[in-house]
């Protein structure tokens, strides 16, 4: 439904409706009602024992890594068919947005992040095969988050390229 001028005004000036500042004393009142003790998860002892475990596992992991043949990319759909539709939706959306930024090579750090995400996705798909049934849901959620993050980055890229186009249009018009 088309917005009338009242609705449009509110939406355009939304920030102006949040100008009242709450009393500074409120935070101390809140603070008093919160538990005083902090749960410390990082004592020196814990950090050292974690470091030791990590080093041990890194060693084992490397050894095992050499023995595991690289697996080809496995589609989410073959492991969890009910997610086939969801995966297809995201793949389509990602490809569409990739096409939109195909001509734009702007921010190298954003592109690096995209590459990292691709690596991560491959790893997740590998994990999905190996993981016991109980853990599969976690992996699936992580895969979906991966797609979402990818979309976010692509949207940022599209926004940048759009801004640049507008700027260059402004510069060329009289």
């Amino acid at each position: 439904m088309k917005k009338d001028n009242l609705e449009q005004f509110v939406q355009t000036n939304r920030a102006q409706f949040d100008q009242v500042v709450p009393d500074a004393a409120i935070w101390s009142k809140i603070e008093q009602q919160l538990p005083k003790k902090e749960i410390k998860t990082f004592t020196i002892r814990r950090v050292l024992s974690m470091a030791a475990s990590v080093l041990l596992l890194v060693g084992i992991g490397i050894a095992i890594g050499f023995q595991i043949a690289p697996k080809t990319e496995v589609a989410l759909a073959t492991i969890a068919p009910e997610y086939a539709e969801v995966e297809q939706y995201y793949i389509n959306k990602v490809n569409y947005k990739l096409a939109q930024v195909a001509n734009y090579h702007g921010d190298p750090s954003l592109e690096k992040d995209l590459d990292e995400l691709d690596d991560w996705l491959l790893q997740l798909q590998k994990d999905l095969q190996e993981v016991p049934a109980g853990k599969k849901q976690e992996i699936i959620n992580a895969i979906i988050n991966n797609y979402k993050t990818k979309l976010r980055i692509l949207e940022t890229l599209i926004e940048h390229s759009r801004e640049l186009n507008e700027q260059s249009e402004e510069n060329t018009s009289i």
């Binding site: 439904m1 009338d4 001028n5 009242l6 609705e7 005004f9 509110v10 939406q11 000036n13 939304r14 102006q16 409706f17 949040d18 100008q19 009242v20 500042v21 709450p22 009393d23 409120i26 935070w27 009142k29 809140i30 603070e31 009602q33 919160l34 538990p35 003790k37 902090e38 749960i39 410390k40 998860t41 990590v54 596992l57 890194v58 084992i60 992991g61 095992i64 890594g65 595991i68 992040d113 990292e116 995400l117 991560w120 790893q123 997740l124 590998k126 994990d127 190996e130 993981v131 992580a142 988050n145 979402k148 993050t149 976010r152 980055i153 940022t156």
Partner: protein, 199 residues
């Protein structure tokens, strides 16, 4: 054998996660700190959202003193319940729901004119074509007009236009039908326009 290789990959993934999640605006570190009871993190989270949430309370309950109490109690709720927050929405949206639910419970306890929701006329009103004269359109006038609405109209109106919920969500929050939400909004808007047109 498998699990250790997995652990290695999960560990590596943690690093990816924290650096890339900046795109998802999750305030991940602050939330983790809050969950552990870190006062600094809690203060940060409060100050990130306190002003916006306070203004929501003001719109909903009008009285500044009541709004302050609601702000205070809501954030105590937020920090106590934070362990149940699982990133299914953004932290801001989650906090907003806590605040709004508290405001509504407060209004219900006062039993002021929430009877409006017993709505016998569920057909949507024909949209009034009249618009508010541009000269009347300013923040102050609109606030005054909204404040003068009865509770039921004011709540639906602010949830829709100011807080950005759709009628389906408002229906769920207030436990009314979607049609009722739409008609309440229509009526509220009509009343506001009447007030602002000075008729």
């Amino acid at each position: 054998m498998q699990p250790s290789f997995q652990f290695l990959c999960l560990y590596k993934r943690e690093i990816h996660l924290t650096s890339l999640l900046k795109y998802l605006d999750t305030h991940l570190e602050i939330i983790e700190g809050c969950k552990q009871g870190n006062r600094q993190a809690q203060s940060e989270l409060y100050h990130l959202y306190s002003q916006a949430m306070y203004n929501i309370c003001l719109r909903m309950v009008k009285n500044p003193s009541d709004a302050e109490d609601l702000l205070q109690n809501s954030f105590v709720d937020v920090f106590t319940k934070l362990h149940s927050f699982k990133q299914e929405s953004s932290i801001g949206a989650w906090i907003k729901r806590v605040v709004i639910n508290n405001c509504i419970n407060f209004l219900k306890k006062r039993r002021l004119q929430f009877e409006e929701f017993q709505d016998h006329y569920t057909h949507t009103l024909a949209e009034t074509i009249e618009e508010v004269p541009d000269i009347s359109l300013n923040v102050n006038n609109i606030n005054l007009a909204v404040q003068s609405l009865p509770d039921g109209y004011r709540v639906v109106f602010t949830l829709y236009l100011f807080e950005g919920y759709d009628h389906r969500e408002i229906a769920e929050i207030l436990n009314i039908s979607e049609a009722t939400s739409k008609s309440q909004y229509s009526r509220a808007k009509k009343k506001i326009k009447t007030l602002m047109n000075g008729t």
